[in-house]
């Protein structure tokens, strides 16, 4: 379990990192917390020729109050997010979700940007950012752009990031603590990736629409139109049937996931129950 040979870069500034990404277009991987990339490399399941370690780049760290949004640097560790009063006050749903991420040791190293860029369909962070209507800030040596989270996750472990781009931050509309939400997942053991999860984020002043996310099934976390409607109209028999249809369509393409249908339905019902005052 030793990685194949690679060249290690540790740029001190973002422009230097972006220059490396531009130079090695496609041949370089970004190393952030390393909680997924390093095991994959050790097992030789991924073999980047160039590894760009961004851990020394200070401008990628930290949480900033940017008016109606919080901007969280890509290198911000889960444990910092859990400790931050800004998050507790303005994004309690994110805190609740991250408490489900793995274990202390992993939360001390793992970063929000790394998790978004990896786009694991069972991970809490991508699903939660989808529910929170986040915008992903990506930069290349050509400039910066913002990508709506709705357009960011393209498929299994695949995102809208270009080969020469680095995810630098995520910008999330504040969500006052008094606005209700529901985060519910089922994992075999505490800290495991979810078998399935449901996130409900009803509309509020900062986000005009109800957002409901199903994760842990299919190739990526997805919004559920059926649940978003149910958040206004209640989980009627029709809404359940619509949700069942949505979920069945997703898991039909996910080998061995058929058993998850009743799990998602149960979680959806319970999550809806939590929204009740």
């Amino acid at each position: 379990m030793k990685p194949a040979l690679f060249t290690y870069h540790r740029p001190g500034t973002l422009p230097d990192a972006l220059a490396l990404m531009a130079e090695h277009r496609g041949g370089a991987r970004v190393l952030a917390g390393g909680q997924s990339l390093m095991p994959l490399m050790a097992m030789r399941m991924t073999r980047p020729e160039q590894l760009v370690d961004i851990n020394r780049i200070d401008e990628l760290k930290g949480i900033r109050d940017t008016g109606d949004t919080l901007t969280i640097g890509a290198l911000t560790r889960y444990s910092e997010i859990l400790r931050a009063p800004l998050i507790a006050d303005s994004l309690p749903l994110l805190s609740e979700a991250i408490r489900h991420v793995a274990h202390h040791a992993i939360r001390n190293r793992g970063t929000i940007g790394g998790s978004l860029a990896l786009a694991d369909p069972s991970a809490e962070t991508p699903a939660t950012c989808l529910a929170l209507c986040a915008r992903i800030v990506a930069r290349s040596s050509a400039g910066e752009r913002e990508i709506s989270v709705d357009a960011f996750f393209e498929g299994l472990m695949s995102t809208a990031l270009a080969e020469d781009e680095i995810l630098v931050a995520v910008r999330i509309p504040k969500r006052p603590a008094k606005v209700p939400h529901a985060f519910l997942e089922f994992a075999r053991r505490k800290g495991d990736y979810a078998q399935a999860g449901i996130i409900l984020a009803p509309s509020h002043g900062g986000v005009a629409e109800n957002r409901a996310v199903v994760f842990g099934i299919g190739s990526t976390a997805r919004r559920s139109a059926a649940l978003e409607g149910a958040m206004t109209n209640g989980l009627s028999a029709e809404a359940k049937a619509a949700l069942q249809q949505e979920v069945t369509a997703i898991i039909d393409d996910d080998e061995g996931a058929a058993y998850k249908l009743p799990i998602v339905m149960t979680l959806a019902e319970r999550a809806m129950g939590r929204l009740k005052p």
Binding site: M1, M43, R189, D192, Y259, P262, L267
Partner: protein
Amino acid sequence: MTTAPAPAVGQSLARPRAKRLVTGRGRYTGDIAAKRALQVAFFRSPHPHARIKSIDVSAARALKGVVLVATGADVAKHCKGFAGIHRLFKGMKAAEQWPLAFDRACWQGEPVVAVAAETRAIAEDALDLIEVDWEPLEGLGTPEKAIAGGTVLHESLGDNIGYDGTTASGDVEAALAGAAVVIEDTFRFGRHTGVCLEPRSILAAYDPSDDSLVVHESHQCPAQQQAIFADLMGLPEHRVRVVCPDVGGAFGIKQQLYGDELATCIVSKMTGRPAIFIADRVESFASDIHAREHVVKGQMAFAPDGRILGLTVDDLFAVGAYSNYPRSSIGEASHVAALTGGPYRIPAYRARVRMIYQNKPPVGHYRAVGHPIACAVAEQLLDRGARALGLDPIAVRRINQVPDGTASHKSHSGFMLNGLTVEACLGKLLAGFDMAAFRREQQDARKRGLLLGLGIANFVEFTGTGAPYYGESGAPVTAQESCLARLEPSGHVRCLTGTTDQGQGTDTAVGQAIADAIGVSFDDVEVISGDSAGPVGGGAWASRGASSGIEAAVRAGRALRDEILRLAGLILQRKPEQMMLAGGLLCDAASGAELITLREVATIAHYRQHLLPPGTQPELSMTRSFVPQSQSFITTNGVQLSVVSVDPGLGDVRLLRHRVAHDSGTVINPMLLDEQIRGGVVQGLGAALFEEIHYSEDAVLGTGSLMDYLLPLATEIPDIEVAHLATPDPGTSIGAKGAGEAGTAGAAAAVLNAVNDALAPMGAHISTLPITPERVLAAIAAASSSHDTKPGLQG
């Protein structure tokens, strides 16, 4: 006048090793420095079953830093083949094995080519350059597929059935025909393995100048390994030495021979350099021995009052591509035949066991060999019978149990079970447990949509293997234990034991026993184990350290004490029998008056022999041995209780309580004993709910890491309450019966019974381990589709 210090036996003394291990000063095989050592990595078969048409290693050989690339044919020139036959089992068939595959690979992960390089990374780079031209063959995944009459794995054997044996007593057909209720079911047990913190590791150093081989190996049985390496490699046995330094868990995984480990020894011989192989986690799942792939059909027949009239068991035991060498792989199935229903009086019994070859890694002797299977089958059939008859499952157990104090009860399987305490253990288990309150809580929870369940599992266990079992096998496995006790000039004692310690604390228990036997304090005894050049012993397996290992230590300790008393008598001109040795002091036996320190005696005996009477020859090293000569096993028993919750919407099972009552014989170290039981329970809980190595029907491996092989974590495990009976075993001085496997033996069965108790109101039940959410949901779905007219969950 001094008061004798309290005996060490019976005290919860901390393990001296523990401090070293937890402070990072462990000396594992991977920590042993060896100059010029080569790192060995193995190219493993990507196919479950495939013919090797050709192997091209030229690019791998050309890589800078690679010293040797050896194929199966290259390695086979330096050793004999081997086959895992156990001659006690008449008609057993096993194919010959070699360190590496050379014409055919029979499981995914089987080692095919060995690469030795300056670093492990270079060795792995070289693996990428090896080209094998494969001709894939049909892979046999399940045992049913293997006996369906298709592909024969080893043509020389004729079929895929390595052993087919039946044990019977009484008239089973009459029992089934005359029963009020017959419960019949097929139980499936998934493959799992013992996940050691320290993976398999070996450092082999062959010296061509004297044809010697020194091996450091993470293993349970150094003496066995010495014999095997010498025999298979054609080396003089007295020049082969196997040292097992600190071993980070073994659980039976490190008890037999692995082809890759023998190949590592051969790499050292071929290169003249030390060679080290440390399995990584990925290859551990693919190549460590596995356990417990059984499909068991069981029937239990009951009289209207709950008496068991008869029991049948038909076990298809899928052992992988080969039978392990040297002990064979039959153990699990033979224990199923011997132990199913063991705690009960059963007038009619028939057990058929078949050992089936298929395209998976060999199954070996994982902790509690076969016991969890035997326990789960019998205890679940019993619970279902009680339910069908409308009787209390505890009452049904009580009317069937072998009465306590029966000195020798010949079981329905023909084994002598001595001094069982089934009823006393059950009483101890239930003492302080408010069953009525639990049943009320269960009713209340149902109204909230939560299912609670309680399960009980009785088990009989075999520990302390005696001479007949392996004596008959033909394998170089000794049931004997030896111990050398040496008096140092300072009066301290150094003890070398043939039994070994993989973290369970055997060394500590040996130290306690020998300290008392001699009459010194525990702190003045150092125990050294794990060296085949020391006193010969079997090592660790079958919970034998506390019985056989300690008995040898006690005998060595007493012999040394007698010699010390003799020498002190000569020095003091007193009769030895009028003195005693306690706490490192020689005292007058009658008055307790202090006469001389042990240190003074030791100093004279080592350095001042001229002061002793003419002709005195001090003997300051005493070696004694012990073998349980005539009985195959010590027998003992225990019982476990599990309380679970089942969330029927998610299929989620949570463990709420777990209790164990066990008869370990005399308790040597209560703390170590409790933790042995708890550790064993946790492994059993893993088997119950989490641990499974997935294979397809075609035997393609689907489990690659600890991400998809779920071990129970502290967050999933409830407090485990442990109670002991301490009925001394009459066969040894101290009377310890062993406890390493009791926890694992009954834990999964207790959980299975608890889950089925929880599911009973829905008309659902589970017969497959591990109990995953998927299986729970499927059971509920099956029950609701077949019982549409019956009431479902109330409330």
